[in-house]
Symmetry: C2
Amino acid sequence: MASTYIDTRNLKFTLFELLKVQELCQYEFFADHEHETLEMMIDSAKQIADEHFFPFLEEADRKGVTYENGTVTVHPQVKKVMEVMGENGWIGPTFSYEDGGMQLPHTLGLAAEFIFNAANNNFAGYPGLTAGAAKLIASFGSDELKAAFIEKMTTGKWQGTMALTEPQAGSSLSDITTSATPMADGTYRISGTKIFISSGDYTDIENVVHLMLARIDDAPPGTKGISLFVVPKHRMTEGGNLEYNDVTTAGVFHKMGQNGYATVHLVMGEKDDCHGYLVGEANRGLSYMFQMMNGARLAVGMTGTAIASAAYHASLQYAQERPQGRRWGDRDLSKGQTLIINHPDVRRMLMSQRAMVEGTLSLILEGGRYLDLEHVSEGEERKKYNLLAEILTPITKAYPTDAGLQSVSNGMQVLGGYGYCEDFPLEQYYRDIRITPLYEGTNGIQSLDLLGRKVTMENGAAFKLLMGEIGQTVAAASSHDDLRKYAGKLKAEIDRLIDVTQHLSGIAMKGQVELFLADATIYMELFGLVTVAWQWLKQATLAAEKLAAGNLLAEDTAFYEGKIHTMKFFFVYELTKCIGLVETLKAEESLTVLTDKDVLQEQV
Amino acid sequence: MASTYIDTRNLKFTLFELLKVQELCQYEFFADHEHETLEMMIDSAKQIADEHFFPFLEEADRKGVTYENGTVTVHPQVKKVMEVMGENGWIGPTFSYEDGGMQLPHTLGLAAEFIFNAANNNFAGYPGLTAGAAKLIASFGSDELKAAFIEKMTTGKWQGTMALTEPQAGSSLSDITTSATPMADGTYRISGTKIFISSGDYTDIENVVHLMLARIDDAPPGTKGISLFVVPKHRMTEGGNLEYNDVTTAGVFHKMGQNGYATVHLVMGEKDDCHGYLVGEANRGLSYMFQMMNGARLAVGMTGTAIASAAYHASLQYAQERPQGRRWGDRDLSKGQTLIINHPDVRRMLMSQRAMVEGTLSLILEGGRYLDLEHVSEGEERKKYNLLAEILTPITKAYPTDAGLQSVSNGMQVLGGYGYCEDFPLEQYYRDIRITPLYEGTNGIQSLDLLGRKVTMENGAAFKLLMGEIGQTVAAASSHDDLRKYAGKLKAEIDRLIDVTQHLSGIAMKGQVELFLADATIYMELFGLVTVAWQWLKQATLAAEKLAAGNLLAEDTAFYEGKIHTMKFFFVYELTKCIGLVETLKAEESLTVLTDKDVLQEQV
């Protein structure tokens, strides 16, 4: 069994050496923290994950989630996780003190998500979603709602959820039909059905608080008529007791993976007694929800990176222990077999795992840093970081989850036939990670968001800012002899990305919107590669500086040399994909937009 | 639930229009067949698959394989499958009449494998491996062995297996230690352990016949000391009864997928009473086994294509039934939602599935045709087809299985969150297909075989022949206005492939063998793309000819137009990957060959 799931040294390198997250402590909001305490937070999260998450990963999968007579049963450790996370401040650690938080930077919060998800992705969502739901109430709810719910949630006593999806409305939220009828007392009666509700119900928890999208009677059609409600499973009576709120769990979904994470089917108002409490103003629910969704998207991207990290460490450990075959030029059969980590093809797979994990980790944490800087800045500066965070959000959701599948698949291949068997954790990681390209807006939806909204927003301002940031890294890398070649390669890819973006914009300007967006997913892959290469070049530049400065411990020298080596690996094995993607994006054939001659319909 | 798993029209197009397999009937060995009867064979296989395979796919997975007190239990339908397949000649259909076969071309045999595996990949291996094992006896066994085993196997009464792998010897077969001690009666006493033995044991079957690699006492070390034995679970007594042969099943492997396919752990000779019967000459076992392995490799490649086909049809059907969202420029909310098949990103995923399935199907069947032509030809002609079959074998194993994962993953993405749930077959296909890059020599091993052995064999003769075949397709396509552009693109990729092959050969000639082979997997991906593009251009050329000739039914016009459209899709979305792969292969950095500074070992 694998004994670890993250490289703490690398996480601290990324946070404190590369992103210098401790510099945020100069801002008032974060003023109570300093480098040392932030680092202690990471150690504390790791300790909790070691004790309460990682040992239960396999059990969570094997035991699964069961549904009987309306009751959902999960692994008993889930309740313990909620308690421990609540007690230690890890449900909403980035919240203000007022809202029961620790005022930690988002960058740190995401680092903790990385740790918890890498240790046990089946459990991390329970506290994670609770924080997200509480954040919505904290941001937009009345004082009454805040008082009633936030503390219960951040202490882990009550579970929170996001309840968006309905059977007929998944990607298309405008088609939501769950209804909310206003009552004289200011509450609403909720009626409808929600599906795919993660952590949506389980017996061990006192209450489940759904942050639910619904349509107030006579609201305008489409997204402009959607409101946000707090819909608890049990509502509080005036006497302070909990009373059943007519939220029925109709079933659980049987999934390929994340078997320890409850995904439920809810029916509200069967007895016409489901009370909902409006959050903020009527008909603004979707814009509120999207503030949470953005955080959720970074968290899902991080889940991809985290599972890929755990898989990497499991593969690495196996490769260091498994003898098989002999190196070329050393075929002496009287000698024992060599460890498989010595075979180039195995090394290639392991390095591709490492390059994906460490590159996307740094990219997502960079996204978190932009959120933090947006939070503490003002005026132009604030605008700048907002735009950077906006454009990075869909990329940090889609790329780590898509690349994560391939990374875990490589990890399974390292183990050969054993990788396919339950004796090793790879097969579970392979099943678990597959949900991440689907969660929180499929990666197709993220790609439409990137190309159709983020790249074009404010006349391309976010795009230009990001290219500027990457350009700075290219300039810094160019001053190192060993890195100049790679700086040049990234510069060439930026130029090509700009060029293809202009090409696509030209199509949009001709009004051919469907054609403009048809290959958004290919564009996303291209953009993901460029931004992860940016992070690798940034890491390598810092490593080169450290090596040049000298005076290092042997293990640090090895660490920084490994960084430069892995950067080169990403550039040689991954960034080289860009040129082909650009060719696809610039192809003149329109092959996927529906025309009268439908080559697919014919095939039935 | 999906109602189909293959496109029969396309299969017949590939067999009879594109490959003209009926022309093989002019050779004596196949003289009893003709176009019509061959087509009837396909229909008959489809009917059996419809009735006995497809309806049990989900059950096979859910019921799984259980092990208790030494007894392995599989789905009861497995026994029925063996009976029906035996009765209808589908266990060894390509065998000579003498060996109980139908003397069908391999191309047809592979087409049947496609049908059975697409219908239920959990069952197809039972008869498939039985045929492979019987073929080994037929090819190399004594008349006595033939008389004792072949008929029992081809009629489906006895199960056959290939027993190669041992705990310490997976990819490295030279390290096999199972021993064979010669006895006075000419038999051997077998002692050892075998793992990962597919269809290795189950209660419902009368006997299991293992074609097993073992080392005769005092045989030379390594691959030159490996012999092939028939080791039945029950041996025949002189009186004609079955007697237990000291082959113990120590357990079954719990896999991520193919849960209905028994994979067992065998221990031979615990009571020193396991009899083995030598096949052919001593110490030549590995070369015998590889004749079966080549067939098995084509079959595994076909399994990849087959599962991807079933997944494609399930995704296509869902996309034709599921309304969600609206097309750009048609956002009228008062109208219903559009079917998701009308969204470009969904169409892109479906077309990538189709392009993979139909392109690799045609490639593998081309490989089968080469085997048939080798079989019936003589002299130079025979040599030519042998070389073509040799070089295509690792490609037809690796590419369809690697590309198959991506194809099925796209198929799951089409279904959104539902794709991840057990209500639809995609999640099972996703789990099932993942074994195929591992089976019968991992794809890493196939890649070493391609670059290290097949490309270089006889001074590159096989490579040159294959390039010549592709060149003919390029020339034929160039005469069609609509195809000239694509012919040019394939020509450019061939030139690049030749160039990079020379580049790599240069490294080999300098004696840097480990570096030469380090990126064999990347080379395999490149080669796979070029050969599938070749097949697509060939299909499109034929389609263009049919369309030019005119006088077609509307559905045929649509079929041929769809072929040209899908060829373009493969060229625009897949073949464009080649340029980046070539860049990787020509990179000067040596990043995966082990040096003194091991960037991976450091990370523990």
